[in-house]
Subunit: 327 residues, 2 copies
C-alpha cells in the first residue's frame, strides 16, 4: 500500500502479510499440548481459520508509532495471544449456544463433547497468559486478565438472558463484553508496544471499542438476514439489536412471535420469513445499521486524531469495511 | 503449640488461627463479582467449607523462615489464591464426574447447570491470577500458570480415561496433576515468600508432592471403603490405587466385574460388597495404604532436613495425620 494508494482489504493484508504469517506460526506452536485431547482440539480450532482481525488491529495500532527493537517480536507474540483468547471464547460460546457448526464445519463441542471443550478453552486461556508472561510486563498482564474476566462474565450474563428479550442496554453490555472489549485491548496493546502516551492509548481504546460495537451489530444483523449456509452458524442464536428496534414499536401479538423464537432458539413455531417481515415493517435492520454506522464513525473520529500514515489510513478504512460487510 | 508441646490438629490450627481467619476473609472478598450468577456460585462454594489444607501448607512453609515485612500479607493473599484455584478445580471436577453432591451438599452443577459452573470455575481461575498479579512477582505467576495448565490437562486425561481401568502409572500421573502438583506449589510459594534458596525450595516441593500423593491415595481409599453419607460424594467415582492392586492379581472374571463398575460409574450390576470382597481377598486397601505410607515417609524425610521449629514439627506431623485419616 503506497502512501497515495487506494486502501482496500488486499492492500491492508499485504501491508501486514509477514507479521500475520508469523502470528499464524506462533499460534500453531503455542497451541501444542502433550495431552492429545487438547492438541487435537487446538489444532482443529486453529485450522478452522478466521479473519484474524484482532491481531491485525494490534499490528496496525503498533505501526502508528515509530518502530523500536522489541516491537515486532512482541507484536507477533501478543497477536497470537489475542487470537488464542478469541479462540477460547469461541469454543465456550459454542458450548453455551449448543452450536452445531462454526465457520462452516461441525463445532468442536459436537466433535469432542462439552466437558473436553470446556477444558480445552480453559487450557487456551492459560496458554494465552503463559505466552503473555514471556513479555515480563505487568501492565499487559493486568489488561488481559481483566479482559478475560469481563468476557467470562459476559458469557454468564448471556446464559442468564438466554431465551428472553433483552433490553437495549443489556444488549450493548453483552456485545461490549463479547467483542468490543477485546478489540479495545488489541488497540491498547499495539499502543503499549509503540510506547504510547496514556492519552493516545485512550484514543486507541476508544477506536477499538467503537469498532467492536459496530462489528458485532453487523454480525448480528448478518445472522438475521443471511441464510444458515453462508455464515455457518444457526440463524436464530443471536436475535439482537435489529430485533430490539422492532420490539420497541411492534404490537403485543408480534412481540409474542419474537418471544417464541427467542425461547425456542430456532425457527420452528415461527418461520424465518415472519421475522424478516417484522424487521421490514419496523425497519429493524435499518435502525441497527444506523447504530453500527454511528459506532463506526466514532471509531474513525478517534483515529483521525493521529498523524497520517499508512497504518492510520488502514485504521480509518477498517470501520468502512466492517459496515460494508452488511450489504 | 509450645516448642515442647504435643503436635495435634488443634495445636496446628491454633498456631495458624489468625492467618487462616484472614485468608477466609480474603477468599470471601476476592470471590465477589458484579455478575449475580458468579457471585452466587462463588459464595456457595466458599461457604461449603473445606479443610483449607493448601493455605495451611503455604503458611507453614513460610514459617520455616525468619519473618520478614511483606511475608504475612503475601502469605494471606496467596493462601486465598491457592484455595480459589482449588475451588475452581472442584467445580470443574464435579461437572466432569457428574457429581450430585460435594461436602454433603448438592454440588454446584446440580444447582446452576454445567455451563454456568464451567464459567464460574473459569472466573475463579482468572480471579486467582488477578489477585496473584498484585504481588508483582513473575516467578509466582509462572508457577501458578504452569500449575493450572497441568491441572486442566489432568482433567482432560481423566475424561479420556473415564470408565476404563487405568494403569498404575496413569493413576499416579492423574493424582499428581489433581492434588500433588498444587500441594507442591503451596510449599514452594511459602518458601519463595520466606526468601528460600533454590535447593531448599526443591525440598519443599518434594515434601508437597509426596504429601499430595499420599493424601490423594488415602482419599481414594476412603472413597472405596466409606459409605456415601460420610464423605458426601458418590462412592464409585474414583476407583483407583487399591483397585489397580486387585487388577494386577485377580482372575479374568473378577476383572470383568471391576470393569463393569468402572463403566457404569456406580454400583448397579455389581454391588459395593462384591468390590469390597475383592479388595479384601487381594489386600487392595493394604497395598494402596502401603504406597501412601511410603509417600508420607518421603515427605517427612524432605522436611526433616530443615532446622527444628514449630512449623517444621507441624509439617512433620501432617503426613501422619493424612495417613491416620484412613483408619
Amino acid at each position: 500500500m503506497s502512501s497515495t494508494g487506494v486502501v482496500n482489504a488486499k492492500a491492508v493484508f499485504d501491508l501486514l502479510h509477514d507479521e500475520l504469517e508469523a502470528i499464524e506460526q506462533e499460534f500453531g506452536r503455542e497451541t501444542q499440548s502433550e495431552v492429545r485431547g487438547i492438541a487435537e482440539i487446538g489444532e482443529y480450532l486453529r485450522a478452522g481459520g478466521g479473519k484474524r482481525i484482532r491481531p491485525m488491529l494490534l499490528l496496525l495500532a503498533s505501526r502508528l508509532f515509530a518502530a523500536n527493537g522489541r516491537m515486532r517480536a512482541s507484536a507477533i507474540r501478543l497477536g497470537a495471544v489475542v487470537e488464542i483468547i478469541h479462540t477460547a471464547t469461541l469454543v465456550h460460546d459454542d458450548i453455551i449456544d449448543e452450536a452445531q457448526t462454526r465457520r462452516g464445519r461441525p463445532s468442536a463441542n459436537t466433535q469432542w463433547g462439552n466437558s473436553k471443550c470446556v477444558l480445552a478453552g480453559d487450557w487456551l486461556y492459560m496458554q494465552a497468559f503463559k505466552v503473555t508472561l514471556q513479555e515480563r510486563n505487568f501492565r499487559i498482564l493486568d489488561l488481559l486478565i481483566d479482559l478475560t474476566q469481563q468476557m467470562v462474565e459476559g458469557e454468564v450474563l448471556q446464559i442468564e438472558r438466554l431465551g428472553r428479550c433483552v433490553s437495549l442496554d443489556e444488549y450493548l453490555d453483552l456485545i461490549f463484553r463479547k467483542t468490543a472489549c477485546l478489540f479495545s485491548v488489541c488497540m491498547r496493546l499495539g499502543g503499549i508496544l509503540g510506547g504510547t502516551t496514556p492519552k493516545k492509548e485512550e484514543l486507541l481504546a476508544e477506536y477499538g471499542r467503537n469498532l467492536g460495537m459496530a462489528f458485532q451489530i453487523v454480525d448480528d444483523v448478518l445472522d438475521l438476514t443471511a441464510s444458515e449456509k453462508i455464515l455457518g452458524k444457526p440463524v436464530a442464536s443471536d436475535l439482537r439489536e435489529a430485533i430490539i428496534a422492532v420490539l420497541e414499536k411492534c404490537t403485543p401479538g408480534q412481540r409474542a412471535l419474537i418471544e417464541t423464537v427467542m425461547r425456542e432458539g430456532v425457527f420452528r413455531s415461527v418461520r424465518h420469513e415472519q421475522v424478516l417481515e417484522l424487521l421490514e415493517q419496523y425497519s429493524g435492520v435499518e435502525t441497527a445499521m444506523l447504530k453500527a454506522r454511528e459506532y463506526a464513525a466514532r471509531a474513525q473520529q478517534a483515529i483521525a486524531k493521529f498523524p497520517p500514515s499508512e497504518a492510520q489510513r488502514a485504521l480509518l478504512w477498517v470501520p468502512e469495511f466492517v459496515i460494508a460487510r452488511s450489504s
